[in-house]
């Protein structure tokens, strides 16, 4: 969106794209000349602040992380033996110290992602469609749906832990009054723990996705709907042929961001279930944090992170490819 608006502004100022590569010899006195002289560098200068941060806080640590993953690494011990790829091979060797835990954690992350992402795509879209209509109190409801998102994970986690407690929680207490006379183990047994974790995450983060959708919906030109209506399209057909295609770039963004966020789930499970029952709800990030920050086995933890990162990279690539295919078809 910012690209568009800056292009518009440039057009309004009477500049053209050719202005960036002007013919030689145009005076430096003219406005065109100034932009031209510095044009080649300008985009990089604009990018520079971000690029510096990106390199210092993302690229450098990522490379350093590979280095760490090849050692038996504890930053406080003077001796950090080189172990080659064995931190990685260990993860693929059944019966080792970490393999079982790691793949169980990856499975937990996978389960959570598979169940939370569809809900976080669909529910916020429905909310956004509702909030896009005009009705009295619309702004109020927009705020209501967005509000949970501003809470920290600690608040959300503690809140739901008490609400969902199997024996003294509010939820079971109300269910009891409604005639469900058994204590549902929301936080201590499967599949209930997953239902709780997915449910609270949807409640917590749907506002963010809804706002993105809402912005996307408002970008779709009303004329398209009018034209569709003139052609005799009903509400459902309008949704299929106008709304969804119009939302495609937004959908790609929401899908990618939601998958990554779900795959990085940590706080909810850490606070609400503590990984129970057993380690069934201990997610990959939870295990990585434990391994690296509590056991100080940073080499293994780094190796786990890279395996997880490769999975996420592949999924993101599939995502982009899928949407591009739809684009060209």
């Amino acid at each position: 969106m910012s690209v568009e608006s800056s292009a518009e502004r440039a057009a309004a100022a009477g500049e053209t794209l050719q202005g960036f590569q002007p013919p030689e010899g145009q005076g430096r006195s003219g406005v065109h000349g100034r932009v031209a002289r510095h044009g080649a560098l300008t985009p990089y200068l604009f990018l520079a602040p971000f690029l510096v941060l990106f390199c210092v806080f993302i690229v450098a640590p990522a490379i350093y992380g590979i280095w760490i993953s090849l050692h038996d690494y504890d930053f406080l011990l003077p001796h950090k033996p080189w172990v080659g790829l064995s931190n990685y091979t260990e993860l693929f060797t059944p019966g080792g110290r970490d393999a079982t835990d790691f793949w169980r954690a990856m499975k937990a992350t996978g389960i959570f992602t598979v169940f939370s992402v569809p809900l976080l795509l669909v529910v916020p879209l429905l909310v956004a469609l509702l909030l896009n209509r005009s009705f009295p109190g619309r702004t109020f409801f927009r705020a209501v749906f967005f509000t949970p998102y501003v809470l920290g994970v600690a608040v959300v986690g503690l809140l739901w832990r008490y609400l969902l407690d199997p024996n003294i929680g509010l939820v079971n207490s109300y269910l009891d009054q409604l005639g469900v006379h058994r204590n549902i183990p929301w936080t201590t047994d499967l599949p209930w723990a997953w239902i709780s974790l997915v449910g609270m995450t949807v409640w917590w983060t749907l506002g963010f996705n809804a706002i993105i959708y809402l912005a996307g919906l408002q970008d779709i030109s009303p004329e398209l709907y009018e034209a569709a209506e003139v052609d005799g399209a009903g509400k459902w057909q309008q949704f299929l042929h106008v709304t969804l295609p119009g939302l495609r770039p937004v959908l790609l963004f929401v899908l990618t961001v939601t998958i990554l966020a779900s795959a990085n789930m940590f706080g909810q499970a850490f606070l609400v279930t503590k990984g129970a029952p057993g380690n069934a709800t201990r997610t990959a990030i939870m295990l990585i944090a434990e391994t690296g920050m509590r056991s100080f086995r940073m080499g293994v933890a780094a190796a786990m992170s890279y395996v997880l990162a490769i999975f996420l990279l592949l999924i993101s690539l599939l995502n982009f490819r899928f949407f591009r295919m739809r684009d060209t078809s």
């Binding site: 450098a60 490379i63 350093y64 280095w67 090849l70 038996d72 504890d74 930053f75 406080l76 011990l77 003077p78 950090k80 033996p81 080189w82 172990v83 080659g84 790829l85 064995s86 091979t89 110290r97 832990r161 969902l164 407690d165 199997p166 024996n167 003294i168 929680g169 204590n183 183990p185 936080t187 201590t188 047994d189 503590k274 129970a276 029952p277 057993g278 380690n279 434990e290 920050m293 509590r294 056991s295 100080f296």
Partner: protein, 447 residues
């Protein structure tokens, strides 16, 4: 040599050749900060803390006293600052879990605090990782010796023959009970059961009145402490003597875990007790007994309408035993130690240590025998009940990295109490993993 066969797949030299050579290695190594061998010896603390007469200094003190004890430690620090104008102690309180993540990073970067408090089982890990320094001089200067403390507390501060911790307190598990609930079931609220048989009889009586009397938590707080207490009561132990092998899956362990699991199967506890729900239920009058730490005293006391009592945990196994831990003062390694700060920090430890009666009021048993046996401490009724157990308290084992192996006990407990695996199976799976961990630790830290 483990290093050799581990690096079969990719040698360091090979990796560097692939990634652009030694320049990158130097760069990467530089990122690692001070990789030279850190100075292990403690800078001497002058007079070891008997007094401080130097120029004005500030001393940073970090700890994890986030519970009811926070107000007490804050008051003690304030009192110290008033009484000692040339030393200003500034305190930071973190959750223990955060504390042990922050402290190593802070110390490594030279921004660590001067003084800290830790549990006994954290001392070996932090000594081996060079985060805390030996303070034998403090003990010598303060003329402290084993006879001033109970032996287990005093030995808790030692790692590899050097003293790293000055004991502050002992905090065992005990049995809290809700008097009103006992009365409702026709039980004498002034005579809580003290043997395994009496205890089960009381639970049966409560069950007859529709009360589940012992909510059994499948979580570390305090399920693990209950299991460990009973393991010791049945004559077992968590690890062998040199901490090379996990032994909590022994017969004693199975007996202990089965007893606890039976609380659920016999209906004395609801299934699926959530985190802290057992303790909250005690306060709400839904639960009769809760084996919990001495640190809860002030929290219970703050509820004016609650009638509660506390007693030693019953003797369920063949001998008396109960889980406990101890807070100890430690001094952190500094990259550039400041002589005055070192002395002031030692004086601060000494000053607080002498006032452990004040600290006891926060829900602790004082470490110093003289205070423990004083009439003033005995007048602290709930604390004195806990102190009855002082002769048979058991601490978690001490070995670097032990926390990772102890986490396996939490796992066995969770699986067994939630009925996901039978006690023997849950214990043997966890013990197998714990053995792997302690053996890894020995390789890493040296035994």
């Amino acid at each position: 040599m483990p290093d050799l066969d581990r690096s079969l797949f990719l040698s360091r030299r090979h990796f560097l050749a692939l990634t652009g050579g030694a320049g990158a290695a130097a760069l990467l190594a530089a990122c690692g900060g001070t990789s030279g061998p850190p100075t292990a010896q403690a800078p001497s603390g002058g007079n070891g803390g008997t007094k401080y007469t130097g120029p004005n200094v500030s001393v940073a003190f970090w700890n994890g006293f986030t519970g009811g004890d926070q107000a007490y430690i804050k008051k003690m620090v304030d009192d110290f600052n008033k009484a000692t104008p040339n030393v200003k102690v500034t305190m930071n309180v973190y959750q223990w879990a955060d504390f042990f993540q922050k402290v190593p990073a802070a110390v490594a970067s030279g921004n660590g605090p001067d003084v800290g408090a830790m549990h006994v089982d954290d001392i070996p890990t932090n000594a081996a990782r060079n985060i805390i320094v030996p303070i034998d001089d403090v003990a010598a200067a303060l003329k402290l010796s084993e006879s001033d403390f109970s032996p287990i507390v005093w030995q808790g501060g030692v790692y590899k023959g050097k003293r790293y911790g000055i004991p502050l307190d002992t905090h065992p598990l005990g049995m809290y009970y809700n008097k009103a609930v006992l009365q409702k079931a026709g039980l004498d609220p002034d005579k809580p059961p003290q043997t395994g048989d009496d205890y089960l009889a009381a639970l049966e009586q409560l069950k007859g009145k529709g009360i589940q009397g012992h909510w059994m938590s499948p979580f570390p707080f305090t399920g693990t402490f209950q299991f460990e207490s009973l393991l010791w009561q049945f004559g077992g132990d968590l690890f062998d003597k040199d901490v090379t092998k996990a032994t909590f899956d022994s017969d004693a362990g199975v007996q202990a875990m089965t007893w606890l699991r039976n609380l659920v199967t016999k209906g004395y506890s609801p299934a699926n007790v959530g985190q802290d729900a057992d303790y909250i239920a005690l306060k709400n009058g839904k639960n009769a007994f809760n084996w919990n730490g001495i640190w809860q005293i002030n929290d219970l006391a703050s509820i004016k309408t609650l009638q509660w009592g506390v007693a030693p945990i019953p003797k369920v196994g063949t001998q008396n035993a109960v889980w406990a831990n101890s807070h100890q003062f430690v001094i952190m390694r500094q990259n550039q130690p400041d002589q005055n700060k070192q002395e002031a920090a030692r004086y601060f430890i000494n000053w607080i240590s002498q006032r452990s009666l004040e600290w006891a009021k926060s829900g602790k048993i004082p470490a110093r025998k003289s205070v423990l046996e004083s009439a003033e401490f005995k007048a602290l009724a709930p604390e004195a009940q806990f102190a009855k157990q002082i002769d048979y308290v058991h601490f978690p084992p001490q070995a670097p990295g032990i926390g990772d192996a102890l986490a396996m006990v939490d796992q066995a407990l969770n699986n067994a109490i939630l009925g996901k695996a039978d006690p023997a199976k849950a214990l043997s799976a966890a013990a197998g993993q714990a053995t792997k961990i302690v053996q890894d630790n020995q390789k890493k830290y040296g035994s």
